[in-house]
């Protein structure tokens, strides 16, 4: 039984990413969208929170914010809206950390 965790806020603005990443189980997946994508930038302090997790980011939200894929932390996958739908379908539940 896996959960897809969604985080849409900047990790520098509130503790949502910290909460999500610390409650996740081994099979769970984290998807960063909207301002959440800032958490996946390798050189940023917040990227330490997602080390060792299964993490994807939404490509259109990255591009909007001027973040190129080579700036991401190791192992972070970039997906499009169709990939977002696939993640929702392939996990048993969705938890949105609003």
């Amino acid at each position: 039984m896996s959960i897809l965790h969604l985080v849409n806020k900047s990790p520098y603005e509130n503790s949502n990413l910290n909460t999500a990443s610390s409650i996740m189980k081994a099979d769970d997946v984290l998807l960063l969208i909207e301002d959440g994508v800032y958490g996946a930038v390798k050189s940023g302090k917040a990227s330490a929170m997602i080390a060792g997790q299964k993490v994807s980011v939404l490509g259109p939200d990255l591009a909007a914010r001027g973040i190129s894929e080579d700036k991401l932390a190791d192992g972070v996958g970039v997906i499009d809206y169709a990939g977002f739908v696939e993640l929702v379908e392939s996990n048993d539940k969705v938890q949105s950390w609003l």
Partner: protein, 135 residues
Amino acid sequence: MSDTKKFLFFNRKAPYGTIYAWESLEVVLISAAFEQDVSLAFMDDGVYQLVKGQDTSGIGMKNFSPTYAALGDYEITKIYVEKESLEERGLTLDDLQHLVWEDEDEDYAEKDSIRLVSRAELGDVMAEQDVLFNF
């Protein structure tokens, strides 16, 4: 004009997750049109507003980031970026747009608008203002 005041606009939010950044730009441009002495400060997530290479074609929102490059034409020449906020986010000045203004007193020489300041220096900038606006 005798009614000129020193306005400082504080920008502390990322550009597209909320409407604050865009609204700030609107008020900044209005203030400049009324010939006030306008300065901008970017700290916390606000520094993300100035990141270059923004492409919003995939999210159905207007990319307003080119507007920052036009601020020099409105005689907005003091753009303060807080050093600590950049560092925490793993950003450097090279990740930001190169914003300039033309100095008509020096044969329209191009000068940098962005001033990298520490938190303490930003506090000094705040202290010398007449009015503070927060977005």
